[in-house]
């Protein structure tokens, strides 16, 4: 147990990310190094444009760095194939977006079950597992509705359910409460706290100091660099 806890799941070394708009370049990240260990509860804060989303996208393998090394359990991510990266996004990580990013034509339960399709799980097992997760995060009775028939809080619960469905090693969240009122936001944070208590690992981006206060480890970004205080 201690061994697992001490060994980092994710290890980023000197990560940079440069975006090109024609001939103009934006250095969104300018050399970020960090580690994420089992059961960490990390918040990333910083001004708008400081590179928070860029960082969390790279950490969750949704995007690739311009330079630097990124290891998942000692394996270099840049060596993975597209297929393997898809598998990592599917089962190794879960991601919660600020704008929920649910498929509008699918019901809540089908949205939650979506990653199971790509994990190759059979249809009957998918529904059962999705229902179980939704019960746990308190959305049992609304599960058969579509996103446009749900409140923001309910949508975000569906999104969290979707992130949890494959028991990921790390859950990433980019401003998970950004589109919610403070009361609903607080409910979402309760779920996060509970997940960490149960042994999950969470990395979240937020503007809100009250939200960041839930985290045990706080990272501040400024102009693409980690700010040490």
């Amino acid at each position: 147990m201690t061994m697992v806890k001490n060994k980092p799941i994710c290890r980023a070394i000197d990560i940079t990310k440069t975006y090109w708009r024609g001939k103009v370049s934006v250095e969104a990240l300018r050399g970020v190094s960090l580690e994420i260990r089992n059961n960490d509860y990390v918040s990333i804060m910083g001004a708008s444009g400081s590179g928070k989303s860029t960082l969390i996208h790279i950490l969750s393998c949704l995007d690739t760095p311009t330079s630097g090394e990124y290891y998942l359990e000692d394996k270099l991510v840049s060596n993975y194939t597209d297929q393997e990266l898809a598998r990592i996004r599917n089962t190794f990580f879960g991601f919660v977006f600020q704008s929920f990013s649910l498929l509008p034509r699918l019901t809540g339960i089908d949205n939650v079950a979506l990653p199971l399709i790509y994990a190759g799980i059979r249809k009957q097992d998918r529904a059962a597992r999705a229902r179980e997760i939704l019960e746990k995060i308190g959305l049992g009775d609304r599960a058969s509705h579509r996103p446009n028939e749900m409140s923001g809080g309910e949508c975000q619960r569906v999104a969290i359910g979707r992130a949890l469905i494959n028991n990921p090693r790390v859950i990433f969240a980019d401003e998970p409460t950004g589109n919610l009122d403070s009361k609903t936001g607080a409910e979402i944070m309760e779920i996060f706290d509970q997940l960490v208590d149960e042994g999950n690992t969470i990395v979240m981006v937020t503007h809100d100091p009250n939200v960041a206060a839930h985290a045990k480890k706080k990272i501040k970004l400024r102009d693409g660099l980690i700010e040490n205080d």
Binding site: H57, L62, D63, D82, Q83, A86, R87, R89, N90, T91, F95, F97, S101, L102, L103, R105, L114, P115, I117, Y118, A119, G120, R122, K123, R162, N166
Partner: protein
Amino acid sequence: MTSIFGKIALSLQTFKNHRLRSFLTTLGIIIGVTTVIAILSLIEGLNRTVSEQVQALGSDLIYVQKFTWISTGHRDLDKLAERPDLLPEDAEAIGKLASIEIAVPTASRQLTTLKHRDKEVSNVSIVGSDENYSYVNNYLVESGRDFTRDDITHRRSSGIIGSYIAANLFPDESPVGKDLMVEGHRVRVIGVFKEKGQFLGNSLDDFILIPNTVFEKFFPRSRASIFDRVYGGYSVAVKPKSSNMETAVDDIRELMRRRHGLGFDREDDFELNTQQMLMDLYQNITRVGFIAIVAIAAISLVVGGIGIMNIMLVSVAERTREIGIRKAVGASNQYILSQFLIESIILALIGGIIGIVLGMLLAALISTISPLKAAVAFWMILLGFGFSAAVGIFFGIYPARRAAGLNPIEALRYE
């Protein structure tokens, strides 16, 4: 395996959401496949009719004549007119060849009129031949009797009439034993042929058969016009043994060259015509039609394919966000690729199936309202399926690759 059904189900769901658009997209393929199936089945129907008729006619005969049935380009009639006439003696000699069963000399006169009392029938023909004519040409004597050798050698003024003539001159009496007037000559009817129907639209029952010896007497060989010299006189109809055509053709050629005293450096002064030559000619003509079909098919399928590619690109653009979400939660590039590819294949196949059904209906319709007979063959249906699937793959691959190659983050940002 489950994933393929999932992809198909998702595709069908997408089409249900865009019914009209999907239908319009497949229109090109529908039109293409409909035309091809309809025309192919008409050609197939025609092929079957023709080959049935040729079979009925006896396709294994060889005709020895001065002229060829299938001329390529200009016919030098003057040269043909100089060729020696074919004679009953030639027929006799050919009949004795080992590879030949029977040969009959045949002469004919077209567009003539026959009379019986106050009735007459015109535009019929007179054929002069011998007692083997009916066997060689697959005619059966239905009432009365066939010729015997004696009828020929004794020049009996007797005739066997086709069913068309019997029906017109003797509507309510038996023709056997009655007399006919054949261009001023009296001929006694001794038999009636069983009806044979048509060949390529021509009646096969509108002639009277008389002994060739009588024919020679009634209608002495005229050499007045160049046409008489080329097309008048006898031709020899030869029935080879066990339809070994090639040996028979070689044997006849060798014999005729010998009989005409042709040295090795001289060309044939006769032609060997077969019904197979007509079939070949016919098939060459339909092959041209076939190529035309392929061209129509290719054009309409390309048009249909571009339609599909266009709509798939629209679909990829519309669903960029969806693709981003799916990739973010674990869909691989390959999964997205095959999803969109399956969608375009199904789209094309739906068009193909509608086209096959419409094409078959169209062919059936043409069959009922016109004399053309259509025949749908199983291979045409497979062809329709195969072509539309190929179009779906070919024109679907580019949009599908575009979808698969999307960066999830950029796709998610897309509004």
